[in-house]
């Protein structure tokens, strides 16, 4: 199975995804600031739709090359988590964040996301 998701291309942020078995991995590189927010919003919505289409069990979000995320882009992930939480239990999938310990902001931001959706989110450093 291949993932049917266009690449994310904004002047400051890029992203792509692949699927192995029932796990989708999406990688983000660059800066998720207000300039990238519209494209990020579209991309994460498409990622969610794709996860449902392929009945993914897990979506991995690789942020190891993400320099920064502002609050508008953070909200994109908050909204996505809320959407997954609202799905019937059999349609929900796990969300696993891959983080970079050298990007100190990631620890606090991802901890907040984990608290927001404690049953869905795991974090790997």
């Amino acid at each position: 199975m291949t993932v049917q998701l266009p690449k994310l291309r904004s002047p400051v942020l890029s992203g792509d995804a692949e699927i192995v078995g029932t796990v989708i991995t999406a990688r983000f590189r660059g800066t998720a600031d207000i300039e990238a927010k519209p494209e990020l919003d579209q991309y994460v919505k498409a990622l969610h739709d794709e996860a449902l289409r392929v009945t993914a069990t897990k979506v991995q979000i690789d942020l190891r090359e993400l320099e920064f995320m502002n609050s508008s882009s953070f909200k994109v992930f908050v909204t996505w988590l809320a959407q997954v939480q609202e799905l019937p239990a059999e349609q929900q999938y796990r969300i696993h964040f891959l983080s970079n310990p050298n990007m100190h902001w990631q620890r606090r931001s991802l901890a907040a996301l984990s608290c927001f959706a404690v049953d869905l989110v795991t974090i790997e450093t």
Binding site: S71, K75, L81, H104, W105
Partner: protein, 158 residues
């Protein structure tokens, strides 16, 4: 108490410049502060403050000033804004700082943000919780100064 200004930067409000200023100040914080985690928190707060200032500025200048006063580091932004925005800033900062538990408040704002169509409403709560900074403001007519303050842990690099 001695007030030692580190720098004061004035630029034409342009949302695309905010990340540039964050990188510049981020490098500054990394060089000046021993605690690199604190440097990262300050850069995050600087970005959020500047985005707010630039987004709502209604004249040709936005300013940022970073100062050390004793063991406190403050990040101040200035801009001029329309009266309704001035009122929003005042009430938003009052609300954020009145919350007894910054973590619980941030989580409640995240829940609200997940249902909001426009804007995130998370920037100030993020500064208070993730950056662990206290917020205050000074308002004179349409001129708004927002101040975020953090305690310097680990000291300054020589």
């Amino acid at each position: 108490m001695e007030t030692r200004p580190f720098f004061h930067l004035v630029f034409r409000p342009n949302i695309k410049l905010v990340s540039t200023v964050r990188r510049f100040t981020g490098e500054f914080y990394r060089r000046v502060l021993v605690d690199q985690e604190l440097a990262s928190r300050l850069a995050l707060a600087t970005h959020e403050l500047l985005e707010n200032a630039v987004a709502y500025a209604n004249d040709a200048e936005t300013a940022i000033r970073i100062e050390i006063e004793g063991d406190l580091l403050s990040v101040k932004t200035w801009n001029r804004a329309a009266q309704d925005r001035v009122n929003d800033i005042r009430s938003s900062i009052d609300e954020v700082m009145a919350a007894p538990d910054p973590d619980a408040y941030y989580q409640s704002q995240m829940t609200a943000a997940s249902k909001r169509k426009e804007g995130s409403g998370l920037g100030l709560a993020r500064i208070r919780h993730e950056a662990e900074m206290n917020l205050s403001y000074e308002i004179e007519n349409d001129k708004v100064c927002v101040r975020a303050v953090a305690k310097i842990v680990g000291g300054l690099n020589p």
